[in-house]
């Protein structure tokens, strides 16, 4: 069993494109990925596609075949849905299919159209990733859910809104050279602390923006890449997925994300690496506190110590443990169904040296991507390594 290779990737500019259809966004990313890989579309065995809110945002279900058509594939296509981890589970499915010999080439991707339904519409659509009976009917929003987790974290481990502001400042600064990013604007700690509150204690700058965008990657087996002379030096060496109760009220922890712990353990064991081997990480910072949960679940920090990592400069591009060099969801943007594959593309580019922030990890050989769905009831973790 060899590790699948990332043969090519494509990502649209993330941002506000209310007039662009999901199919157009995905076509741009998918065709870019195919061109980058240099793979004959006739060789593509399947499309694994992530999308979360297509029914609400575009009145469009059954998007798998639609998106295959959009990038010129005559291949079976399946949509994966796990809220904001939709693309992460699509990647995991593709890795498993390539490993077990079911396929030689799979296009994996995702897209989301969100800004066309406005802030209220998007808030409503995102909320349905929570438990409808017990959370949505109690007024839960996604910022609200993460605010509940934030307050529980502060109560259990300490930390402050100012620590979270440093996460936002860092990720905005990282995005300044990433032309795919939705927000290329530096902010200060004061800007973050003085921003309007969305759900106390979280403010506007603790939250990722509402985003339109798409991402795609072409994954192949090692043997296909060799036989076809593909330039595909980065392998996916580990995959993991964890789950938890859907509703926060039913969880064993309000200040931890056990689903991410499980996904990380599985992915690390699969790749035969540990947290100490990770040179660079792209994590699911839909809210600033989410980055803290992620780096603790990934074992990059002890429980309760992730909150000060950004404040201490450890996770910025000059630090020993750079996190979200793309700008993260916070500044790069978060078209929810595309995010997991955008993270995969970012780590690939950081490891092969083609990302504008690759100079932060010049000798990096191992990266990790952490993609969380809902309030982390679904999580995937993938380990990527330079194989050649």
């Amino acid at each position: 069993m060899s590790d699948p290779r990332v043969a090519g990737a494509g990502v649209t500019k993330f941002g506000k494109h209310p007039e662009r259809t999901g199919r157009d966004l995905f076509a741009e990313a998918g065709l870019e990925a195919l061109d980058d890989a240099g793979v004959d579309p006739d060789d593509v065995d399947s499309l694994y596609y992530g999308n979360f809110m297509g029914e609400l945002a575009e009145h469009q279900g059954h998007q798998g075949p639609l998106m295959a058509e959009a990038i010129g594939l005559d291949a079976p296509a399946t949509r994966f849905e796990a809220a904001c981890a939709s693309a992460g589970v699509a990647v995991r499915g593709a890795v498993q299919a390539l490993r077990n010999g079911e396929a030689d080439v799979i296009v994996v991707g995702g897209a989301e159209r969100m800004t066309n339904i406005g802030t209220a519409g998007a808030t409503d659509a995102l909320a349905i990733a929570a438990d409808d009976l017990y959370e949505v009917r109690a007024g839960m929003t996604f910022p609200g859910a993460y605010a509940l987790m934030t307050r529980a974290y502060f109560d259990q481990y300490g930390g402050s809104h100012e620590d979270l502001a440093h996460v936002a400042v860092k990720n905005h600064e990282h995005a300044m050279v990433n032309d795919h990013a939705q927000i290329q604007k530096e902010i200060t700690v004061e800007d973050a602390l003085e921003a309007p509150t969305i759900a106390s204690p979280l403010g506007l700058y603790d939250s990722c923006p509402i985003t339109d965008g798409a991402a795609a990657a072409v994954l192949t087996t090692e043997s296909y890449a060799e036989d076809h002379g593909l330039d595909a030096p980065v392998a996916i060496s580990g995959t993991g997925q964890g789950g938890d109760n859907l509703a926060l009220q039913d969880r064993s922890h309000l200040a931890q994300t056990p689903a991410a712990d499980k996904a990380a353990e599985e992915a690390y064991a699969d790749a035969d690496v540990g947290p100490e081997d990770i040179d660079v990480a792209e994590v699911h910072d839909c809210f600033t506190i989410a980055e803290v949960f992620a780096i603790e679940s990934l074992g990059l920090y002890e429980r309760g110590e992730g909150i000060s990592a950004a404040t201490d400069g450890e996770t910025d591009r000059h630090g020993d443990q750079p996190v979200n060099l793309s700008g993260g969801l916070k500044a790069k943007g978060h078209p929810v169904g595309a995010t997991g594959v955008a993270q995969l593309a970012t780590i690939t580019w950081l490891l092969d040296g083609s990302h504008p922030r690759a100079d932060a990890v010049p000798d990096g050989t191992v990266g990790v991507a952490h993609n969380a769905g809902g309030t982390v009831a679904s999580t995937t973790v993938h380990v990527l390594e330079v194989a050649e």
């Binding site: 808030t123 009917r137 109690a138 007024g139 307050r151 509150t197 926060l248």
Partner: protein, 128 residues
């Protein structure tokens, strides 16, 4: 109020709270959950029985939401909280107290109220 079919045991559970007979579901091994449940997610037991919910719960975490979904537009700002009632936790909206006075550890009782925006029923916590 929305015109739609009731949600089975969930609406029966709200009825019970409104009647002062709030309950939770307990499995043979003592794990507590809220209805509807046919199996305990912790141990797999299918031997479930109704148990009286404790009169008072303790707020485990809370937030004041200022940017709501459209279904709560006229309710905002409001306090959503998770409160621990013995073996189960419940999510609800805290009423009858200044939002700034809500704290982790605040003791609350459970009730059923109406959503301002739509008139739909919801779980309400009040300090006690």
């Amino acid at each position: 109020m929305s015109e739609q079919a009731p949600d089975g045991e969930y609406d029966e559970w709200l009825d019970a709270i409104a009647d002062g007979e709030a309950y939770y579901v307990e499995c043979a091994n003592g794990h507590g959950w809220l209805p509807p449940r046919r199996v305990c997610p912790t141990c797999g037991s299918r031997d479930l029985s109704d148990q009286r919910l404790p009169e008072a719960g303790e707020i485990a975490t809370h937030t004041t939401i200022t940017v709501p979904t459209p279904q709560f537009e006229d309710d905002a700002p409001y306090v959503t909280a998770v409160a621990e009632f013995g073996p189960v936790s419940v999510t609800g909206i805290v009423r009858g107290v200044d939002p700034d006075a809500v704290e982790i550890g605040t003791m609350v009782g459970i009730d059923v109220g109406d959503r301002v925006t739509t008139g739909d029923r919801l779980v309400v916590f009040r300090p006690r």
